[in-house]
């Protein structure tokens, strides 16, 4: 019995203990001192799903929803389960070929693996959804997932309601702590943008457990740590959707804008920027295509909100303001008369005029006499009570600023332009220290350097209607569930203009009423309502070429108890009385009487709607664009006829200028066509190919 090695039993036990201690040490290291493993485990296993709440609805003043949510469907596929799918039928229903199907599948598997659900076709049309829904049993692995999208039930208000867009890296950087993620949508323009924080609601988070292949295994702890999504708050706007519809109808085939304000509240009743577009174009799966088309290929720039983002010379509508300041400062009085023989000669170069005769303030406003206001303006600037013209102009500008001119009003829409009321320093620079009132005489009739946006003009009308006060024009009156962020506070502040005596307002009202009764706005009379209005005709030029005048019209009604102040503007429409004024009058009638009565008035609506006042330079560009497209297609068809067999596979993306908008049958000028035909020949190879394909598949 050899027992001489018994001590080695101890050694073996020591080895056991040593290894045990080493393992324990590593366990301590892993489990107690390394937080990274816990983190890595969470990254592995948790899938954080953002639950999107319904966005808030925007209602008009009569509680009709003008921007709502609707359910749209995505066709979602789990590629690994879709092997038994009836591919041919699916492709037929989706109008794609099997090659496209295979390519998409490949891409999805590459991007998102074959075991996770991916969107195969987003935002199906109603028709497509119905067709697919009937046949879903044939497509194992495919499913229809609903999601909420925005819809505009009245198809109006594109410029003011705005649209949603996918967040980009820049947006994410600017809004770091607001919980946006790549792939989210945010309000990009219009009210969607201004009230994004209110409309978006609060996102919910659900935590799921996922396995090693990314498949969800159920919720974590039965949802104990999940947060619920809170729907966005609804907004009540001051828009009158019927008036908006009528306004957009009247502005068809025109370039311009309308702003109508309720002078009592500052609420905007109607805000049209023409040409407009159907806002639903920017919600479906064709969104990108439509957007590109309007953004880059329509020379009329339908995405530009002309009520705020464009500044014009206000023209004669500015004269009322000059009159008010003149009277208030005592530079003129109601007895002062100016006679005009067709032009103002006081400053050497004659300034043309529409009316002849001798005028006091009232008829001067009614007849829009240039000479009268030129004299008034000069009298203000040269008045003895000021030390010099600089001071006089500063006082004049103080009035202007108190009327909301020269800087942003603060309308609750993005991208409002300042406008421009030039101060004395501007003229110092331009004309030297001793500038004369004659240097800036154009300003007296709203030309020259003065720039306003149309909302400012409408707001001036509201101020005149209110006799000296206004609320900042705004679209949203109230927020359901309270305005926690104080977004509407600034619209509750009553702004007062510089002191203007009561009788001045009366004089101006009188003059503006005269406009409608016997003056320049005669054709825009509204039967049975005392409207106060002022026409405007603005000279303008584009790239040095003098264009037809812009037509302006500002008004408020009824005179006794003003409920609507309106400004209408038609670009290059010529004399204000024939287009802008009648549009305003119809809108006033519609708003005050709730409908347009009388057959001749109804006929007027149609007549105005059909009146084509697209500025000629834009028309030219449109024709050019259309004929370019035609020529491309012609060349493509010719080439396709020559070698159809040569075309292999079309790129998936459609060219932005594809046949989305119908080709207007504009007679193309021979010269342009020849030009563009030559250009077509120089198109890069790639582009030509796609054109061919379009033709052949069409």
């Amino acid at each position: 019995m050899p027992v001489f090695n018994q001590s080695r039993s101890r050694v073996i036990q020591f080895i056991f203990a040593g290894v045990f201690i080493a393992i324990t040490g590593q366990l301590i290291n892993l489990q107690l001192f390394s937080s990274k493993y816990k983190l890595a485990a969470d990254n592995n296993a948790f899938y954080r799903k953002v639950i999107y709440p319904d966005r808030g609805i925007i209602f008009d003043r009569k509680k009709r929803g003008i921007l709502e949510n609707t359910i749209s469907y995505d066709l979602v596929v789990i590629p690994s389960e879709a092997r038994a799918t009836d591919t041919a039928t699916l492709c037929r229903l989706l109008n794609i070929d099997t090659a496209t199907y295979k390519k998409r599948m490949r891409d999805l598997i590459f991007k998102n693996t074959s075991v996770k659900p991916s969107v195969f076709e987003a935002l199906l049309t109603q028709e497509m959804f119905a067709k697919l829904n009937e046949n879903m049993y044939r497509f194992p692995g495919f499913s229809l997932n609903e999601r909420s999208v925005r819809t505009y039930p009245y198809n109006v208000g594109a410029a003011i309601l705005g649209y949603m867009a996918e967040v980009d890296t820049g947006y994410l950087r600017r809004h770091k702590d607001e919980g946006y993620e790549m792939g989210d949508y945010f309000g990009s323009t219009g009210l969607e943008n201004t009230y994004e924080k209110v409309l978006m609601g609060q996102r919910g988070i659900k935590r799921f457990i996922r396995d090693n292949k990314g498949r969800l295994q159920g919720s974590w702890e039965n949802g104990a740590y999940d947060t619920a999504a809170i729907a966005g708050q609804n907004l009540y706007s001051s828009i009158d959707v019927e008036l908006q519809q009528l306004g957009e109808k009247l502005m068809e085939n025109k370039v311009g804008s309308i702003v109508a304000i309720d002078p009592q509240t500052g609420g905007i009743i109607c805000m049209v920027s023409a040409p407009t577009y159907n806002p639903n174009y920017l919600t479906g799966n064709q969104r990108k295509k439509h957007l590109v088309e309007m953004l880059y290929f329509d020379p009329r720039l339908p995405l530009l909100n002309r009520t705020l983002s464009t500044a014009y010379s206000p023209g004669s509508t500015f004269k009322t303001f000059v009159g008010i300041v003149g009277m208030a400062e005592g530079a003129i009085d109601d007895q002062m008369t100016v006679s005009c023989g067709g032009a103002y000669h006081g400053c050497g170069r004659p300034m043309g005029c529409h009316a002849k005769g001798t005028f006091t303030l009232k008829p001067a406003i009614s007849k829009s006499c240039n000479s009268y206001f030129a004299v008034s303006f000069r009298r203000i600037l040269d008045h003895k009570k000021y030390t010099d013209r600089n001071q006089a102009l500063s006082v004049f500008n103080d009035y202007a600023h108190s009327f909301g001119l020269g800087s942003r009003l603060g309308v609750d829409l993005p991208s409002e332009r300042n406008g421009f009321i030039p101060g004395p320093e501007v003229y110092h620079r331009k004309f030297g220290k001793n500038w004369q009132s004659c240097n800036i005489i154009s300003n007296s009739i709203g030309q020259g350097e003065i720039l306003t946006n149309l909302t400012q003009v409408a707001n001036v009308m509201a101020i005149i209607a209110n006799k000296g006060w206004y609320y900042t024009p705004h679209l949203i009156d109230s927020i359901e569930g309270g305005d926690q962020l104080g977004l509407l506070d600034k619209y509750r502040v009553k702004h007062k203009t510089k002191e203007v005596p009561e009788y001045v307002w009366e004089e101006v009202h009188e003059g503006m009423q005269g406009t409608m009764e016997f003056g320049t706005g005669f054709y825009a009379k509204v039967p049975g309502i005392n409207v106060c209005g002022k026409t405007g005709t603005v000279e303008n030029q584009y790239r040095g070429e003098k264009l037809k005048d812009h037509a302006f019209f500002g008004a408020f009604a009824p005179r006794e108890n003003p409920r609507i102040a309106i400004a209408v503007m038609c670009e290059n429409a010529g004399y204000g009385a024939t287009s802008a004024a009648p549009i305003a009058s119809l809108l006033i009638e519609k708003y005050l009487k709730d409908s347009i009565t009388g057959n001749d008035r109804k006929a007027k609506v149609e007549q105005l709607a059909n009146m084509n006042l697209i500025p000629p330079q834009m028309k030219r560009q449109m024709v050019q664009r259309d004929s370019l497209r035609q020529a491309q297609q012609l060349a493509a068809a010719k080439k396709a006829a020559r070698d159809t067999s040569g075309v292999e596979e079309a790129p998936e993306e459609t060219e932005p200028d594809s046949s989305g908008t119908p080709n207007k049958p504009q007679p193309a000028k021979k010269g342009t066509k020849k030009d563009t035909a030559n250009k077509v020949a120089l198109l890069p190879e790639e582009q030509r190919k796609t054109n061919i394909k379009r033709k052949t598949t069409a």
């Binding site: 019995m1 050899p2 001489f4 090695n5 018994q6 080695r8 039993s9 050694v11 073996i12 036990q13 080895i15 056991f16 203990a17 290894v19 045990f20 080493a22 393992i23 324990t24 590593q26 366990l27 301590i28 892993l30 489990q31 107690l32 390394s34 990274k36 493993y37 816990k38 890595a40 485990a41 969470d42 592995n44 296993a45 948790f46 457990i209 996922r210 396995d211 090693n212 295994q217 159920g218 974590w220």
Partner: protein, 448 residues
Amino acid sequence: MNRRNHQIATQGVDYLVIWLYAILVGIGILCIFMVEYRPGTDWFTSFLNGKTNYSKQLIFAGVCAIAATFILLTDSKLFTAFANLFYLFGILLMLATFVLGKNINGSKSWIPLVGGFNLQPAELCKIFAALALAKFLSRQEVDFSKIRSQLIAGAITLSPAVLSILQHELGLALVYTSFLIAMYREGLPAQILIIGSSFGVLVIATLILEPNVLAIILTVIAAVVIFLLRKQIKKKRKLLTIIITIWLICVGVQRFVVPYIFNNVLECYQSTRIYSMVGKEYDCSENRKAQDKTNTNKPVRKPDDYNVRQSKIAIGSGGFFGRGFLKGTQTRGKYVPEQHTDFIFTSLGEAFGFVGCFIFLLIYLFLLYRIVRIAERQRSTFSRVYAYSVVSILFFHIAVNVSMTIGLFPIVGIPLPLISYGGSSLLTFTALIFILLRLDADRQMVLR
């Protein structure tokens, strides 16, 4: 007769070990249940269906209980008498796998049995090798201090290992090295263990350090040793030659032998696993076997340390108290590959945290110490050698398996004794332990 048998069977049996055994098997089934469990499924019916791994493991446990009872009912003389025959049978069985073998997970070491179960002879062979070693060392004419007996003992234990390597079961082959511990107890010179561990340290140092840095360090160590021993060296010139020879061997190993082993002997994935253990990346393009594969145009999939990473994540995420029973996210998400077999420790680590792991390891340690104590109380060499073989095998399995899940050892396919899913493994350890218990119960008898 029956009564007498009963008395014999229960007399002197170490119940503590049986309890520890039962606890560990119970923990094992619970762990497998944790791995398989999916919320929402009716686990009870699936349990009764017998299709799930935990119900299968329970069946295995039942079979093992029967086997254990049989072993306890046998006469301990049986094992001494048939030790060599068993060994021969085991070797034949292993050879048979080359003919009848079934390919499971890339290793052709399984023999298909009836009912869809498979047997891994290499597992069973551990028992037979332990018995054969015990038999050999207990022979009176064997003097283990002689080189010849040492070589024979080595051959007994290493032949199954060689067969395992041929079956691509490196892990199982490594287990047979654990017999060194048993042999050490019986008088194997300690130098062999020291040289072996020194070689291990040198290999790891080669992996961690830059070749030149290591060479300088080795030279400095040699210089220091020569300086310290300068008086002895003056007396004995031979000592200097020994030191210089050792130094040369060390540098040669780190310079040429280690790279040669990694590039030419080991497979690409094995080298990668060893490198990943020390947190380094192995360039497979230097591996000759991988090069051969590329030459034959087979796509070489670059193996990575996914297993270890996920295993460490699962254990690390347990924290101090763990996520709780059935609440482990990594276990539920099947992030750890082979979690019900080789990586079963991860489910425990995630669910019960450091506390659970520590208690679990204490149970193991307690079992090991208990077996060592049993071994030391044996009167017969056969029983003692066998007991030490059992404890060595257990220790090697536990140490290597747990170490590999926590990143202390490269990944080799070694199951965690009594815990990992698998009938062969459970049956082997049951047999190992209960044969020991039978021998221990008869420790008053003198066995040869």
